[in-house]
């Protein structure tokens, strides 16, 4: 294994912030090198330096032994450094093969050789065991297929270094398996792979080496075989995370909300559940099982066709989020960038978003907004230079904390969390869980939707499992285990029991 790229004493400073301080690390061909760290640790900056999107303030880069300045992403691409980005970077209306060969079209004379491009695209995707019609526009396909197409596009450029930025965040287990086998194939071909992920289990499975960053500092680089997850976590957060999930003992209080055989839309019926004060209740199920729809029905976003809701002992007919919020119900939505936050507004604007209208009959209280925001920033330890920072500039974990601050400001009694820790690093995840815990200790109730089974098992008192639009099982106490939930949500137990 030979070294292909080496960073020496790299510093990157922005006005007021040092994103990288004295980072030296080298990457080798034929090796999967994982880069881990909390959000804001400097991973993204490091990648951008490698790809040529940022210039280091100080330090030197050696590429294939020669000192090199990667002055632009274009130069990076010419050198053979490519990235698979977190965001989906495809043109929706172009076909799969047009996307894969965008700007690198194969020509026969002066015209495009469409047949050859289609054939090659099919081949590339076949490696991921994806057989789709490559002549159809990509907008027809799901997000996980987009990701695979994007990866195929990058591989097709025959790079020497590929940077994967959280490639598996939206992939199913089967897709992750085929991604990993193709990463192994790339490795055998001698390509250097830089792999970023928050899922530590994956790192143990795929990585040869692990580099840990914290607050812009290089904490260490070690062979993956010498590290267990706990070691990595310790290095990332700089302290012991003794227990991933800690819950306080809370006496279960009176019933807060009860859904009685709700029917939402075709195929979504028999939805009955209850949440008591002092409880965190899980709603597990596969993506598409109808969990988010239940949350949105309680908020009054989706209509309820049949059935009834009782909230604090009285019949409740959700009409709109504004009414539900007034009654003390709040949803921390699944897609924080789209449903939770106004990205180009400040942290203070966002924290006050759901409450500023309550403060006065007519006037908008800018000063009150600032004070409320400062308090919330302190209480939830949101990492931001000031309350006037744009939310867009915050890391994922801190953005999620802003959404939670928004929820807490409404003095809600019943919170629904839809995937509370997606795209959030270990440290922030723990903090978010602590906030959930103290919320129920203070007498609130939580309904938590999550696809992260350890999170469901670790956090919830009871769990309802949804399968194809129905709640098929309620699990209590000792029954709440990974295995039980998985069996019901995958439907294997459902068929057996004839539910």
């Amino acid at each position: 294994m030979s070294e292909i790229i080496r960073l020496e004493h790299i510093w990157k400073r922005f006005t007021g912030v040092t994103a990288l301080s004295d980072v030296s690390v080298s990457f080798s061909s034929g090796e999967v090198h994982a880069l881990v760290g909390e959000n804001g640790a400097g991973k993204s900056t490091l990648i951008k330096v490698l790809l040529g999107a940022y210039q280091p303030t100080e330090g030197r880069i050696f590429y294939e032994g020669k000192e090199t300045v990667i002055e632009s992403p274009r130069k990076g691409s010419e050198l053979g450094i490519e990235g698979v980005h977190q965001e989906l970077m495809l043109v929706p209306y172009l076909s799969v093969s047009q996307n894969i060969f965008l700007n690198r079209e194969i020509r026969k004379g002066k015209i495009f050789d469409v047949k050859e491009m289609n054939r090659r695209s099919q081949e590339l995707l076949h490696d991921f065991s994806i057989d789709i019609d490559v002549t159809k526009p990509v907008k027809q396909y799901s997000a996980s297929i987009w990701k695979m197409i994007d990866i195929a596009r990058v591989i097709n450029q025959n790079p020497k270094v590929i940077i994967f930025d959280e490639p598996t965040a939206i992939l199913s287990e089967r897709e992750v398996d085929s991604l990993f086998s193709s990463i192994r194939r790339l490795k055998e071909k001698g390509i250097a792979i830089i792999y970023i992920s928050h899922r530590l289990n994956e790192i143990g499975e795929i990585a040869d080496k692990v580099t840990v960053l914290r607050d812009g500092h290089h904490i260490g680089t070690l062979p993956a075989s010498e590290l267990c997850n706990d070691d990595i976590v310790k290095m990332m957060v700089g302290r012991d995370v003794s227990q991933y999930y800690s819950r306080s003992r809370v006496e279960r209080g009176e019933e807060l909300i009860r859904l009685d055989s709700l029917e939402l839309k075709k195929g979504q019926h028999d939805i009955s559940l209850s949440v008591h004060k002092g409880e965190i209740v899980g709603l597990a199920g596969l993506v598409g099982a109808g969990r988010t729809e239940v949350a949105e029905a309680i908020l009054g976003i989706n209509p309820i066709l049949k059935g009834s809701i009782t909230y604090k002992g009285k019949p409740f007919h959700p009409a709109s989020p504004s009414q539900s919020i007034k009654k003390g119900i709040y949803l921390v939505p699944e897609n924080r960038k789209y449903q939770g936050l106004i990205l180009r507004f400040t942290v203070a604007n966002n924290i006050a978003l759901s409450v500023f209208s309550r403060w006065a009959k007519f006037f908008y209280k800018g000063k009150k907004e600032a004070t409320v925001a400062e308090n919330a920033i302190r209480k939830l330890s949101i990492k931001t230079p000031s309350s006037k920072q744009l939310v867009n500039n915050l890391s994922g974990g801190n953005q999620q904390k802003v959404v939670i601050a928004k929820a807490l400001e409404t003095s809600a009694e019943f919170l629904i969390f839809d995937e509370p820790s997606v795209g959030v690093d270990v440290g922030a995840k723990e903090e978010i869980h602590n906030h959930m815990d103290s919320f129920v200790v203070a007498g609130g109730g939580i309904l938590m939707i999550s696809s992260d089974l350890p999170e469901v098992v670790g956090m919830c008192d009871r769990v309802y499992v949804m399968y194809e639009g129905r709640i098929v099982k309620e699990l209590k106490g000792d029954e709440v285990t990974d295995n039980n939930i998985a069996e019901y949500m995958l439907g294997s137990k459902v068929a057996e029991a004839g539910i």
């Binding site: 504004s322 007034k326 936050l341 180009r344 890391s395």
Partner: protein, 325 residues
């Protein structure tokens, strides 16, 4: 004032537009002797007044990521209804109330189409403009109504001391809109809905009410503009508001209010309207033929928006530098 605050005021709040205005005034003073005369300055303010009322009224629709393309139609129809009722011999307040109800009614129609039926504002308000114009034509045919009572004419051509009444109307409405959009919670809700209607909705802001609000305000201001135009001209006819439509939208956009929603302010719209009026006034003073005037106006609009984009670019670069990677 520290450097950062001055910077923010100049670029982010768009105060450089005032400089454009000042530069234009200085140039016109140098070129033409009559520019700085009191009568000409009052004339400019009078000319700007109606445009100003339309522009500040419609600012909310653009802030909410929509647009109001019906305002010229509503203005014409309201002016015509006002003239029609006056000619039928009813007292002035009745005529004004009738015209205002036309405006409010069309505001609800627009709000309904955008908020409930969810037709994009660009299309729905464009259609509504034709409906309003059609109604005005049916009401008036090709007639011009004129010879309105003195008390009505006072609204548009009268003076209070040295100040034209028309200018006072414009100042009052601008002040109300400034307080409403930039100091009230309703105004802040409009900004939120424009910047991300989904997040605003999930956060408990009534997007539907917001759409109704901005359209009722815009159409009501258009109706006021129609009444004042009828009074100022001492005449009402179908199509009387037509020339104001794109000027009003251009004033808002030149003023830095973003078509992408959630960004902009009332002061910018005022400056935009003044800049556009100054151009016309300057061209008249310079005896530029009326055939050539649209060309100059068009060029200035493009130039102004280009400048704005450049300024945002500078601002954006600064923001990127400040951002944590």
């Amino acid at each position: 004032m520290n450097k950062e605050k001055a910077y923010s005021l100049f670029f982010e709040k768009g105060l450089y537009r005032i400089m454009i205005l000042v530069v234009m005034c200085v140039l016109l003073t140098c070129i033409s002797d009559s520019f700085l005369s009191l009568s000409n300055i009052m004339n400019i303010f009078r000319q700007a007044s109606i445009l100003l009322i339309l522009a500040v009224g419609a600012t909310g629709t653009i802030l909410a990521k929509g647009i109001d393309l019906s305002l010229a139609g509503v203005m014409s129809l309201s002016g015509c209804v006002c003239g029609y009722v006056l000619n039928a011999g009813y007292p002035v307040p009745v005529a004004i109330l009738a015209a205002l109800s036309v405006g409010i009614g069309f505001g609800f129609v627009n709000g309904f189409l955008v908020g409930v039926v969810k037709i994009p504002a660009f299309v729905s308000t464009y259609g509504v403009k034709y409906i309003a114009n059609g109604l005005a034509l049916m009401l008036m045919g090709s007639n011009i109504f004129f010879g309105f009572p003195e008390s009505f004419l006072f609204l548009g051509v009268g003076f209070l001391g040295p100040v034209p009444v028309l200018v006072i109307w414009a100042l009052i409405i601008t002040a109300i809109m400034y307080v409403f959009l930039e100091r009230s919670k309703f105004g802040h809700q409009i900004y939120c809905v424009g910047a991300n209607s989904t997040a605003a909705f999930y956060s408990g802001i009534s997007t539907l009410r917001t759409y109704f609000m901005v359209h009722v305000i815009s159409s009501t201001c258009a109706a006021i503009a129609g009444i004042l135009q009828a009074s100022r001209m001492n005449a009402a006819q179908a199509g009387m508001g037509e020339s104001f439509q794109m000027l009003a939208v251009a004033s808002i956009v030149i003023g830095g209010t973003s078509m992408a929603g959630g960004e902009g302010n009332v002061i910018g719209g005022i400056l935009g309207a003044l800049i556009l009026t100054l151009i016309t006034n300057g061209m008249n003073l310079l005896n530029i033929s009326s055939q050539a005037q649209p060309l100059v106006t068009g060029a200035v609009i493009v130039l102004a928006v280009f400048l704005d984009v450049q300024m945002k670019h500078i601002e954006g670069k600064k923001a990127v530098k400040a951002a944590i990677a």
